[in-house]
């Protein structure tokens, strides 16, 4: 399949929106219910798990409550803002949720009961719930715990808001249920400090998103003032970087509670893409190091990378499935 520019932009948007939803939801749980949310916490299913017994699972967000009203209660949250329209793919997501419908172990506190929350965009949530309730699916995946299907959408007033609103299901806690039933508006201005320093979550980002962050914020950290001065009128600045350094630097954009969420292979893939696009070359004798040509291009890096991928696709006369 040829490179679809609009799809790439949507994927970047979805990735960022999922991140913002996770941050907003953590904020609600913390602010309104004194809950502590952790991204990337690995829990273990029991031997009785009907989908995946005795295995590790990592919900997008794990929240534990310790207040007197909510003592020993938890919530596992899975966010899928880009839930596909085609229902043929939906069973995988139901199966994923069903893994969490279990006596999970590995909580940070003594959690006796938990709710299973699923967040998607408002165009899909109602249909998704109907799908879960439909005959064959409900028979195959009978949920023992509360399954709550929630919308996350953008609202524009004089400030941008994210609206998180329950669509179907019921939380164990009445107050929580009431709040999400009405919908919670979170000002993007309010979560901006957290959003600014969290550019990743426990899911592989689109390749161009990864490349944009490395290009804009990481490669420059190796530049010296002398190097920049010598560059003078040139359009290219040569930078040398290695995988480990990039990984360490980029990890500052990982969630505070999941500092190791950025995988080494994501960095390797991005650097390989730079090599394929002739923007970098590997250093002979050191497969971990790259010489990168930081080309001063006055345009939009996202569109610039997309056009370079398109050129590569045309040149190779084959699709770049390994990246897209």
């Amino acid at each position: 399949m040829a490179i679809d520019e609009e799809k790439i932009k949507e994927e970047i948007d979805d990735y960022e929106y999922t991140l913002q939803t996770l941050i907003a939801l953590s904020g609600i749980f913390e602010h309104d219910f004194s809950g502590r949310s952790i991204q990337g916490l690995t829990l273990k299913t029991s031997s009785k798990n009907t989908v995946s017994p005795s295995t590790n699972v990592t919900p997008d967000l794990v929240t534990e409550f310790q207040s007197s009203e909510l003592k020993n209660i938890g919530v596992t949250t899975e966010v899928k803002t880009d839930l596909p329209k085609n229902k043929d793919y939906w069973e995988d997501y139901v199966e994923q949720l069903k893994k969490y419908d279990d006596d999970l172990s590995g909580w940070k506190n003594d959690i006796k009961n938990h709710d299973v929350m699923f967040i998607s965009n408002p165009l899909r949530t109602s249909d998704f719930f109907d799908y879960v309730e439909s005959g064959p699916i409900s028979k195959k995946y009978q949920f023992q715990r509360n399954l709550i299907i929630t919308d996350s959408s953008r609202m524009q007033q004089s400030q941008e808001f994210m609206l998180i609103k329950k669509q179907k299901g019921k939380f164990s806690n009445e107050e929580m249920d009431k709040l999400f039933k009405s919908g919670v508006g979170v000002s993007q201005l309010k979560i901006l400090p957290k959003v600014n320093k969290t550019k990743f979550y426990d899911s592989k980002p689109p390749i161009i998103y990864m490349m944009m962050i490395i290009w804009d914020h990481i490669l420059k950290t190796n530049l010296t003032i002398e190097q920049l001065r010598d560059t003078g009128r040139n359009r290219i600045i040569e930078v040398n970087e290695n995988i480990q350094d990039i990984l360490e630097k980029i990890s500052q954009y990982a969630p505070k509670t999941n500092k190791n969420c950025i995988k080494r292979e994501w960095v390797v893939e991005a650097m390989t893409a730079f090599v394929d696009l002739k923007l970098a070359s590997t250093v002979i004798g050191d497969v971990e190091s790259y010489n990168i040509k930081l080309i001063i291009h006055g345009g939009d890096s996202r569109n610039w990378f997309i056009s370079k991928f398109k050129e590569l696709e045309e040149k190779k006369n084959q699709t770049l499935e390994k990246y897209f």
Binding site: M212, I213, K220, I225
Partner: protein
């Protein structure tokens, strides 16, 4: 002072060679120099946290040569520059002298030279700009230049008439992002600034004359002092220097350095776990019409040696900026109708932030900088 100006030594001796015990003696000399010589004195204000004398001597850009004498508090600099054609076949050497004075306890330096404006721009200003980001330029907004004119009138009781203004008009949604306009007005400054505001322009420079109203028929005297005030904190003084050193320069430092001081804090905190953002508050809801968002993003495209990365442009805006001149980078967010928030990423210099802030004020609109903690964040509904 009269004896000092003896012909055998000439003006240049007193401007560049004489040892002055105090800065004020030098400023007094400039005042008498302007009165007696009927010449101009050009002044550029720059910001350097490190001693400027050391910075200028530490690294000399290609095609430049410099010679300094004095201390960081006050020194003379001789700058030679080789101008060459693109194919380097023709070369010519030009030389200027300047005296540089550190302004009180501020990290601000005043660069004085009586050379032509053209030489000042192509030699002195170019040399300073080459030292980016170690030396920061400062800028004045339309409103701040207007305030300087206002203070001239208030404190010297002269009427400030703008002879001509050089302004640029903001253009949105067109390939050409700005249009330059030189307007000969001979009007009172308040009228000129009103017209500039209505025309959606930003000022590059104004040339003004300060005169005394002689009678009720609004006859005016010969100019008492006159000169140029430019956005980039460049001044050219004629007839008298006192109004410049007593009124215009302290105000320009207050405004220009005020902004740089705000940016300096953000530059130092860029590496912190919780960096401090630049927050620009506009008096109007300029981001209400989301169909203009793309134009806003594109307005950064003619900022020299800066690339933009778009993450999102509708309904809210999230872009990254990378300044290739010094490796500063930012994430820029528009999540409300009247505010723009810029987070420095890992490292960002004051000079680079100043460049970006100036660009936004020029191309988008002038706004007020504020603290993130002071924003009133509205609750839902």
């Amino acid at each position: 002072m009269k004896n000092r100006m003896g012909k055998e030594k000439g003006y240049d001796y007193w401007l560049y060679d004489q040892d002055y015990e105090k800065q004020t003696d030098f400023f007094e000399y400039i005042n008498s120099y302007l009165i007696s010589s009927r010449s101009k004195m050009n002044i550029l204000l720059v910001h350097s946290n490190d001693p400027l004398l050391d910075e200028l001597n530490e690294w000399i850009p290609r095609n430049f040569d410099i010679n300094t004498e004095g201390t960081d508090e006050m020194f003379t600099i001789k700058i030679s520059k080789i101008f060459e054609t693109f194919d380097k076949s023709v070369r010519r050497n030009e030389e200027v002298r300047a005296r540089i004075v550190k302004y009180n306890d501020y990290p601000i330096y005043l660069i004085f030279s009586n050379c032509t404006k053209s030489k000042f721009r192509t030699i002195i200003t170019t040399l300073i700009n080459k030292h980016y980001p170690r030396i920061s330029r400062m800028f004045l907004t339309n409103q701040e230049i207007k305030s300087i004119c206002n203070e001239f009138e208030r404190k010297t009781r002269n009427e400030v008439i703008i002879e001509f203004s050089h302004a640029k008009k903001r253009l949105f949604g067109t390939k050409k992002k700005k249009i330059s306009q030189m307007t000969y007005t001979n009007e009172h400054y308040s009228k000129v600034f009103e017209k500039i505001y209505v025309a959606n322009q930003w000022i590059e420079s104004i040339r003004f004359e300060a005169r005394v109203m002689v009678d009720e028929l609004k006859k005016v005297s010969q100019p008492k002092y006159l000169g140029v005030i430019s956005r980039g904190c460049f001044f050219s003084a004629e007839l008298r220097f006192a109004p410049f050193i007593d009124i215009a320069i302290p105000l320009a430092i207050k405004y220009g350095y005020g902004k740089n001081e705000y940016l300096d804090i953000r530059s130092k905190k860029a590496k912190d776990e919780n960096p401090e953002p630049i927050v620009i508050n506009f008096s109007e809801d300029i981001f209400k019409d989301i169909s203009e968002n793309q134009n806003f993003v594109e307005s950064f495209s003619d900022l020299e040696k800066i690339s933009v990365s778009s993450y999102h442009s509708n309904p809210y805006i999230h872009i990254s900026l990378l300044d290739y001149l010094d490796g500063s980078s930012y994430d820029l967010w528009v999540v409300s109708n009247n505010r723009l928030i810029i987070y420095p990423q890992i490292s960002a210099s004051t000079a680079s932030m100043n460049r970006i802030l100036n660009h936004i004020f020029e191309r988008i609109k002038e706004g007020d900088i504020e603290e993130y903690k002071d924003i009133e964040i509205k609750n839902w509904q």
